[in-house]
Point group: C2
Chain length 424, copies 2
C-alpha cells in the first residue's frame, strides 16, 4: 500500500494511530479539523464499548448493541483513513509500522493505543479452562460456556456430574468480576426459572473469588462491604483473601481445596498489549510503557501512548485503566500533536477523576464520586444513565435502553443464543 | 439419561420430536394440552426464524432478533422436555433414537422434522469458497466474508486484486438468492458510501446467477420479470440460463468464462437432513422421505415426518419447502397423533397455499396471493408486515421493527460487526 494519500495533494503531517478504542478514537476525533492526515489501524472493524462487554457475555445485549464500525463512526471525518490490520512491527528509526500482511506504513507521529488483554500471571495453561473477557469474541465464547453449562447439567448422567456443571466461579473481584458474578446469579435464579425439567437452575453455585482482602478494591472500604452484601443477596458466594492455585477442566483449587466446577471465568489479571514491547522504553510490571508527562515515549517525542498501554503516575498513584482515563489521554495526545505542529511546548497530562462506578446486578451498584457515596437501587440508576449516555451512536443508546427495559420488566435476557461449535 | 420423566408418575405416551424448526415446534405446541410426554431434541438451543436469516447475513439484524431459545418458548408447556443434542442413530425396531453423546431415548411416537441443508450437487469442494445459508453460524460467516471483502479491497495492492475483492456473485435465483443479491447491492451502493478512501464501494459488481431461465421460478413469469427489473434497478447484474461450472478461491466459471471473484455465496441447492437416511423408506432425489398421506412413514405408523424433510405430492405438484408448509405439517402431525391416541383413523394432509412472497431489497418485493399480484413498494410493505407478524416472541417483533425503521431511514445496517477469526 502506498504511504501517500489516495488523492495525492500537498504534504501534510501523517499521524498513525494504532487502536480504535477509547484512547485512539478520542485522539482521532479531536484532530478532526487539524491539517493532518490520519491513518487509524485496528485489528477489528469496530469500536467497542468495553464497559458493557459483560452484558454480551451474559446474554443481555447483542454484539452490535455495544459496538460500532470504526469506518462508520469516522465516515465524515475526511482526514482519516481506517485500516483493518494488525501491527506486528515497528521501525522507530525509519518511522514505519509493519502490518501482519507485510504492508509498511510510514508516520510522522505515532500513537500506540492498543490497550490491554487479560493475563494469567504465568499460568497461561489456565486459559482454555478460564476464559477472560476483553473482546466481543471473548464475550460470545463465555456466553456459550455459561449457557451450555446448564444444558450439560440437564443432560448429566449422575449427581456429581450435574453438580460440577452447576458450579460456577468468577476469579477476580474487580468491577468485571463483580458484574459477571452478579449477573450470572441473576440468570440462574430468575432468567432460567421454569425452563428446565431435571435441574433447578437456582441451585447453581456462583462463587466470586478475590485473592485480596476485599472486592472492588479501588473503591472505599465501605462500598466494598456494600457490594459484598449486595452480591450475597443476589446469591453469589463471595470468597476473599484466598488465592486460586490451580484451574483445569474439572475445577479449581482454592487454597488447598479442590472444587469441582466446569465453568470458571477469569477476571483477575490485565497485561498491556504486546505492542509496548516493540519500543525501546521502560515498562512497568504489567507491560505498560512508562511515558513522559506529555504522554510521549522517552527519547521519541514523535511517539505517544494513550489508554491502558500507558503507565502514568499522578500524585503518587497510577492513573487507573478505565475508559474515562483513556478518553482523556486520547484528547491530551491530540492537543500535544497540535502543540508540536504549532511549535509550542507540550503540556503535562492531568487525569481528572470524575468518580468510580460499578454495577453488581439487577438494581444493585456502587458509586463513589469524590467521596459522595451511593449504593443499591439509586446507584444502579446512576450507573445505567451514565453508561447509556456514553454509548457511541444514537441507535445503540435507544436499543440498549429498550433491551434493558425489557430485561428489567421480564427478567429475560434476549441474546441467549448459543452460536458456534458446541464442542470447541 | 433415563427415559422416564423426572417426576415419575403414570405412564403416558412418549412423543420424541427431532428438530425445533417450524415443523417440530408447531407439533409440540399443538400437543400442549394432550396427555402425552414430549421430548424435543435439537442440535441448537434456539428456534430460528429462517425467512429473515438473510438479514443477519447482510448485517441488518442481530442473531437474537430472529432466534429465541426453545426452552424459553416452551417454558410454560409442562409436558415438554427440551434436550440439546444431536441425533445420530435410530433403532426403529426398539423404538429408540441415539444421541451423539451416547444417550438413547425411547419413544412411542417419533417425529423427524430436522429440515434441510444446502447442497452442492456433487461439488462439495465448492463449499469453502461458496458458503451457503441455513444456520445462524452460516449467516455470521457470510456476513464476515462480505464485510471483509470491502476491507481487503481497500487494502489491495493492485487493481486486479481490488477488482476481484469487489466482485460478488450469488449463485441461485430463488428467494434467498434474490434477497441476498438485492441487499448486497444496497450495502455497496448506500450503506458503505463515504466510508472508504481508496475504493468506491458502489463500483462493486454484484451478480446473481441462475442456471434456469428466470429468477423466482416458483412465481408467475410476470413477477419473475418484475423481480429482475427491480434487481437491476438496485444495481444487480442478473444472469439467467447459464450454469456455474466451477468455483474456487479465485473466482467462478460461468459457462466457459472464468470470472475473478473473491466472494461467492451459494443459494442454489437444498438437500434434506441426513436423518431421513436412517429410515428404511423411499426418498426423493433431494433425500426427502416419501411419506403416506397422513405424513407417517410407510411401514412405520409410529414415525412421522414434517417440514423440509417430507416429500409430499399434492395435485401432481410437490408441496414447497417453505415455512407455512412446515407449520401446517407440524399441526397435522399433532392431529394425527391425537387421532391415534383416541383410536380414530388419521386424515390426509392438505397444504393450504396462502400465497408466495419474496423480498428483493429496499422497497422492492413481489407478492402472489392466488393470482393477486403485487410488486414494488406496496409488495414490500406487505412482505414486511407478514414477516414481522410471524416472528416468534413479542420482543423480537418490536426490536426488529425498530431496527428496520432505523435502517430504512438511515440506510444503515447496525450489525456490521466482524466477529471471529478474520483469516479463517
Amino acid at each position: 500500500m502506498s504511504h501517500e494519500p489516495p488523492g495525492g495533494g500537498k504534504r501534510v503531517p501523517h499521524i498513525v494511530i494504532v487502536g480504535g478504542g477509547f484512547g485512539g478514537l478520542w485522539t482521532t476525533r479531536a484532530l478532526a479539523s487539524a491539517d493532518v492526515r490520519i491513518t487509524l489501524i485496528d485489528r477489528r472493524n469496530h469500536h467497542l464499548f468495553q464497559p458493557l462487554l459483560y452484558q454480551v457475555a451474559t446474554a443481555g445485549l447483542s454484539s452490535p448493541d455495544i459496538a460500532a464500525p470504526l469506518r462508520h463512526i469516522l465516515r465524515s471525518q475526511r482526514n482519516v483513513e481506517v485500516r483493518l490490520g494488525e501491527v506486528v512491527g515497528l521501525d522507530a528509526a525509519a518511522r514505519e509500522v509493519e502490518l501482519a500482511d507485510g504492508d509498511r506504513i510510514g508516520y510522522d507521529t505515532l500513537l500506540l493505543a492498543s490497550g490491554a488483554t487479560h493475563a494469567y500471571f504465568g499460568h497461561d495453561d489456565w486459559a482454555p479452562d478460564a476464559p477472560g473477557l476483553k473482546t466481543l469474541d471473548d464475550a460470545l465464547h463465555i456466553r456459550r460456556r455459561l449457557l451450555l453449562a446448564f444444558e450439560r447439567a440437564e443432560a448429566a448422567q449422575d449427581e456429581a456430574e450435574r453438580a460440577a456443571w452447576l458450579s460456577f466461579a468468577v476469579v477476580g473481584g474487580g468491577p468485571t468480576g463483580v458484574e459477571l458474578a452478579g449477573t450470572l446469579a441473576e440468570i440462574a435464579r430468575k432468567t432460567l426459572r421454569r425452563e428446565f425439567r431435571r435441574i433447578d437452575p437456582a441451585q447453581a453455585k456462583v462463587r466470586l473469588i478475590e485473592a485480596g482482602p476485599r472486592v472492588l478494591s479501588s473503591f472505599p472500604e465501605e462500598l466494598s462491604e456494600k457490594a459484598r452484601k449486595q452480591l450475597q443477596k443476589l446469591g453469589v458466594e463471595v470468597v476473599t483473601g484466598t488465592p486460586v492455585n490451580a484451574i483445569d477442566e474439572h475445577g479449581y483449587t482454592l487454597g488447598d481445596t479442590v472444587v469441582p466446577a466446569r465453568t470458571v471465568v477469569w477476571a483477575a489479571g490485565v497485561a498491556a498489549s504486546k505492542l509496548g514491547a516493540l519500543l525501546d522504553a521502560p515498562r512497568d510490571r504489567a507491560g505498560r510503557v512508562q511515558v513522559l508527562p506529555d504522554l510521549s515515549v522517552p527519547g521519541h517525542p514523535e511517539i505517544f501512548i494513550a489508554g491502558d498501554l500507558a503507565s502514568v503516575q499522578q500524585d503518587g498513584k497510577p492513573v487507573p485503566g478505565v475508559a474515562p482515563a483513556a478518553k482523556q489521554m486520547g484528547a491530551h495526545v491530540a492537543r500535544a500533536i497540535l502543540d508540536r505542529l504549532k511549535g509550542r511546548p507540550t503540556t503535562p497530562f492531568r487525569y481528572k477523576d470524575y468518580g468510580n462506578l460499578a454495577t453488581i446486578g439487577r438494581m444493585a451498584a456502587v458509586v463513589d464520586v469524590h467521596g459522595f457515596k451511593l449504593s443499591g437501587l439509586l446507584a444502579w440508576w446512576f450507573w445505567l444513565a451514565a453508561h447509556v449516555f456514553f454509548l457511541i451512536g444514537f441507535r445503540n443508546r435507544v436499543i440498549v435502553l429498550i433491551n434493558w427495559a425489557w430485561a428489567y420488566w421480564s427478567y429475560q435476557r434476549h441474546a441467549r443464543i448459543i452460536l458456534g461449535d458446541r464442542d470447541d
